[in-house]
């Protein structure tokens, strides 16, 4: 039975969210993933900013793909991406100062984020604006989800509680105690340090690898069983044919 082929549009949106997740599968954009995931809010903020930059740059580059000559496409893309990043940086500095001071120079580093440049080179300059938009959204959501996973692990394990409202100042400041609260404190501060970032990332990658390995093993086993069954059937058929021949 053949799987229903999704439309190209849906595919370019859905694939990067999990199957081709830019951080966990393609291993791109790791710098901000380690540096800005000390808390869920920071991770969310970074992810949103990233999505905005990616979508805008994808759309614009795709719109101009027929206009920009191939020889100068590298500096052209760089200027486009850098412009959007600067815009985003200025807006963040003005309207979300706590987020700005927490993300710091990593907002500017979105310019050299491998994902943004990569999608521009690989996708946006070959596909329509709509597809590029969806691709940008998909990658953005996928990256944000990945950042959120890392951020959640680090914040819950590292500080013991989830804090809302410290980076997004329009939300009232609330703490959700999980590992830390009145009278008990099981938080492990190492997870808020750089070492902890590596550990969490490594373990998440290992978990994903384990899941994939398991899936691959199951597939292999299934294929083996099928081959066995086919061989048995063949033998049975040959045997019965041989019997009949006798």
């Amino acid at each position: 039975m053949e799987k229903k082929t999704r439309s190209v549009h849906a595919e370019s949106f859905l694939a990067p969210i999990w199957k081709a997740n830019p951080l966990f599968v393609l291993i791109l954009g790791t710098c901000p993933a380690l540096a800005t995931t000390t808390s869920i809010e920071a991770a969310l903020g970074m992810g949103l900013l990233f999505t905005f930059v990616l979508v805008c740059s994808n759309v614009l580059i795709s719109a101009l793909r027929k206009v920009i000559p191939d020889e100068v496409h590298v500096p052209a893309y760089i200027v486009i991406i850098a412009t959007f990043v600067s815009v985003v940086e200025m807006f963040t500095k003005a309207y979300l100062p706590p987020l700005y001071s927490s993300l710091g120079v990593f907002i500017s580093l979105l310019v050299v984020n491998c994902i943004v440049l990569g999608r521009a080179e690989a996708f946006a300059n070959k596909n329509t604006v709509l597809d590029s938009l969806l691709d940008g959204l998909g990658n953005g959501i996928g990256y944000t989800i990945a950042l959120l996973i890392l951020g959640a692990c680090r914040e819950i394990l590292g500080t013991g509680e989830i804090t809302f409202g410290s980076k997004f100042a329009f939300i009232p400041l609330t703490h959700l105690p999980i590992l830390k609260g009145e009278g008990f404190d099981f938080s492990m501060p190492i997870f808020t340090t750089p070492a902890g970032a590596f550990i969490v990332f490594g373990i998440v990658m290992a978990v994903i690898a384990a899941v994939n390995n398991h899936k691959a093993d199951v597939e292999k086993e299934k294929a083996r069983q099928e081959r066995l069954a086919a061989a048995k059937a063949k033998n049975a058929a040959a045997a019965s044919a041989g019997k009949e021949a006798k």
Partner: protein, 481 residues
Amino acid sequence: MNETTKKYLLCAGVLAGLGVLSATVLAGVNMLTAPVIEANEKAATAAAYKVFNEKLGADSESEEITVFPEEMDATGIEFYVEAKKGDAVVGRIFSVSGKNSYGAIKALIAFDNDGKLVYTSLLENGQTRDGFKTYIDGINADPTSVGQLEGFGATYGTNTFYALYAKAQAIAVKLGGGVAIDPAAIAAAIYGSSDNIETVAKTVTDAAVELSYYSRYTDDSKAEEAARIYLGSYKENDQKIVAAVALSGANSFDGAYIVSYSDESVTTHATGTTFAATELEDFKADALAAKVYDSAAAAIAKSPLLTLASKAMALYPNATSVSEVVNINKTTDTRPEVDAGTSLIISSWNVLNKDSEVIGTVYRAKTELKKEPDESNNDYRQVHGYIDWMIGFFGESNDNPSLTKIYTIKNTFTMGDALNANFIEKWNQSEVKDFNTFKAMSNDEVKVSESGSIGATYSTHGMVDTLKEELTLYVSIKEAI
């Protein structure tokens, strides 16, 4: 136009166009956001000032002042703001900026009119390290810890901060009408010399006035206090005095010096006046000065001077007084062997009981060692340093006198802790303490280079050699009596 020029034109055109577009967009966004950013920063500093004003008890602050008093080093201080309550200036908030190992430190430091630190907070620290924040919090909790710069993650930053702090404080003191406290100058005014004077003041708790003191030592080993210069600050009825009172005992007045006195009509106690040791009554003639004196006298009565004589006395349970033996023959022993050093008997005290009989003699000596590794003998031990120690002799016997506990003044041996734990503490706890026991415990008979045990060491041998010298001296004096 051929294809290639067309191509170049297109390329250049596209790039130029993109460049212009980008610059326009960015300029536009900048115009939009720059005022918001500035407003944010102003709000942030205003919020910071609010905290400071609360601490100072002010209700408004002046504009930023960038003019500093002449001849004062103001590098790194961007401006200061006068915190006012009504019309009176209650303090000054300095905005300082300096370099960290990786970025800039910007801080606000607030001093009151006397130059005392009220509060400080960081405005910006390039990549804030927790250690630096701990230091700042520590200063706010305990202003005297500002000089303690050890053990923090960003010590380059703390050093920079301390330098800025000192500069700002000097200016605050000058502007606030306060006077800088210079212990060396005060000591010179009272004693005629500023030698051996402690530079860090020790605060006195539960005193009637604000009191701290600087120790004046007998010599640069800083083992004994000869006197204390108490610095008292007292305010009454809008008049304020800051005076230094030098005492070398509960009833022993060495002199006084007026650091500052706010009432200029009192000419006897004007700023800079020195009182000699005989002028105690003149000093106490002024009510404020008397208050400072009483407070200092009470403080020294409560915690007397740290003298070696008192320590010597403490070695004997029945002692009531000591008298220092003057003209002691300070033996210098220069034995060039590798396992001995220079023993120097520094001073000696006779300890007396209530009937003024000599019950014992205490010797203070400095056992020094400079032993290098001797590879030809497979002796890799290296011992450097000295121990400055006191021990008392008593009893009838001249061959095997009884000994008191050891009092260590200073121990700088390379393995000083081991010496302390394995020998000195064992000695002090031992039931029998006499000359023979000392020799046994220090393994006098065992040659150090052949000993495998910890017991015989160069330092214990050095101490035994010193003790033998002391015994010789003790016996010779005893027989002379």
